[in-house]
Amino acid sequence: MAGIEVTALHKRYPDGTVAVDHVDLSIGDGELFVMLGPSGCGKTTTLRAIAGLERQTTGDIRIGNTLVNDLPPAERDIAMVFQFYALYPHLRTRDNLAFPLRAEGLPKAEVRERVDEAARLMRLGPLLDRRPRRLSGGEQQRVALARALVRRPRAFLMDEPLTNLDAELRADMRTEIKHLQGELGTTMVYVTHDQVEAMSLGHRIAILNKGRVEQIGTPLEVYDRPASLFCAAFIGSPPMNLIEVEVADGKLRSQSGLVLTPPPGLPRDRCLVAGVRPEALEVTEPGAERSVPARVVSAEWLGDEIIYVVDHGGQRDVRVRMPSTVRFAADAPVGLRHSGGPPPVYDVSTEELVA
């Protein structure tokens, strides 16, 4: 087992595409580290560089304090699970699992023992004699995971391993992976573009955008204080409301007059945007205390909650998350007020967190 250090990683493909611009990661031993980002931001490329399947243009990769830049994938002692499971189609499950072990030249008895152990962990007993073609997507996924486990590698790399599964199975597998990782205590780097997956799995999350790291933090940190406007707009469903604000006599006020709790250390004389979570706003009866007049544009009823889209005279409509017991008709005049703590505030020109 080992931690992974990625320093100033830069990858430019021969056709000139810069897939990874500058990435620094410091992944602890035994950590479940999630890389999250939109399509094309360089997640897969970073992962493949760590695995040794792609040679970085510049930058260093260390696994457990060993510089592995020049090591071929086989010598990095890492297992990877692909989005497309890459089970060998001509081999039965049993042999698919045994393959990496035979490559190491382990004695037969030990191979058998390890295969059985992995099969037990992933509950593959009845599937051991089938070929991949006769396995369902979820089963193939479990076999792929088992094949990663069986080698007892120093780290697991997972590239969107659940993307091809349906929602329910995905939730199950998520729990299973998390549990397994906790049990084995093996470092895992998990790539996804699904923020729910990232939030529920990760000890820490790195948010990538255009080949750069925007933020690294625990799921809570990332949710509460996105480090940049990109993160603010990326995390959460619906994402934060970005409201243009100005500082006036110690208060944070939007154009519509909505007053927000000010965070300490606000800079002056700058164009600022506050990131307000939909659950930190409240739709009230018109004229309620501290509220500004507003109008309901539309309402999305999600069962246990309602997302109201509200026009409060600001530049953009805001989204408000309310319990489903509180009902307002569309087009009804209402009040809008801020009910949470101090929101993160961003500088419009640098797009970075300032307070």
Binding site: D15, R48, A51, L53, A74, R76, F82, Y88, F99, A103
Partner: protein, 303 residues
């Protein structure tokens, strides 16, 4: 071919658009289709049938006028003549068949051994100016053999490859490698690179990964490609005629052609030799027919 017949037919009879007429039109169309296909089949197959008939007729019957279709005496003498010389021992024709087997077999094997790894490399790696290289490789096939045969003749004369099996093998290999690369690249593209990635993480080198995981998945494609190459080398006539002359080097196509042109032509022998010559190709094509179609319709399959 079925498609073109279909299209030719569909514009024909369906002119009246009342439902009953259309129903009749459907029937009429079917009849017409069968009729046209029958005509086509007769036109295509008659020469083959005639060749087979001639190969088993006695010489008297071959020249009979009016021609005898059914009531002739069957003889296997011509086939015997193909393999056995008149005074006993091996015939020159049998030697040329053996030459054909050697030349076609070795050149196909060489083209496969060279072309498959090349196709893999072109499919998997970032090669500089890959498209241009591939186009260049293909372009060597643009020219018909007749155009290049004279320069090659002169070159071969310089290096002493005229009238040798090695010379034929080399030229056939050169012609088959581009074809193999192009066709195999399609098959390699179809095999996800992740298999090799996974294998490399599992502890294999790149070459081992190719050898142990990708290659087995490519076998059907290799078989199809090799059969195409084999058929090309087996049937090739122009180079064989120009570059070889002696009986113990010549391949079957020029040897069979050489039977025609004396004062008398032994048509029975020509026909029998042709049947023997056509047989391996038919058998091979039949064995890999599924893969041949896969090879031709490549890209249309999956994804």
């Amino acid at each position: 071919m079925a498609v073109s017949v279909d299209e030719a037919v569909s514009t024909g009879p369906v002119r009246d658009h009342t439902p009953s007429a259309r129903r009749f039109g459907g029937r009429g169309r079917f009849v017409l289709e069968v009729a046209l296909l029958t005509v086509l089949a007769v036109v295509m197959l008659f020469p083959v049938l005639w060749m087979i008939e001639t190969s088993i007729k006695e010489n008297r019957d071959v020249y009979a006028i009016p021609a005898k279709f059914f009531d002739f005496k069957v003889t296997m003498d011509h086939f015997k003549d193909v393999f056995v010389a008149s005074g006993g021992g091996r015939s020159t024709l049998s030697v040329s068949f053996l030459n054909s087997v050697v030349v076609a077999g070795v050149s196909t094997a060489l083209a496969t051994v060279l072309g498959v790894p090349a196709a893999w490399a072109y499919s998997r790696f970032a090669v500089k100016a890959k498209k241009d290289q591939l186009f260049f490789i293909l372009s060597t096939r643009f020219m018909p053999p007749v155009v290049v045969v004279i320069p090659i003749f002169l070159m071969y004369r310089q290096v002493g490859l005229i009238d040798t099996q090695l010379g034929l093998i080399l030229i056939y290999t050169a012609f088959n490698v581009p074809f193999t690369i192009w066709m195999m690249k399609g098959f390699v593209d179809e095999v996800p690179a992740e298999y090799e990635d996974a294998a490399m993480l599992d502890g294999y080198t790149r070459l081992q990964a190719f050898w142990r995981f990708t290659l087995p998945l490519l076998l059907p494609g290799i078989a199809a490609t090799a059969v195409f190459a084999l058929i090309f080398s087996w049937n090739e006539f122009v180079f064989a005629t120009f570059l070889t002359s002696s009986d113990n080097v010549r391949t079957a196509p020029p040897a069979i052609a050489g039977l025609i042109g004396g004062t008398t032509v032994d048509w029975g022998l020509v026909a029998a030799a042709s049947v023997v010559f056509a047989l391996p190709v038919l058998v091979f094509a039949y064995l890999v027919r599924k893969h041949l179609v896969a090879g031709v319709t490549l890209g249309a399959v999956r994804r």
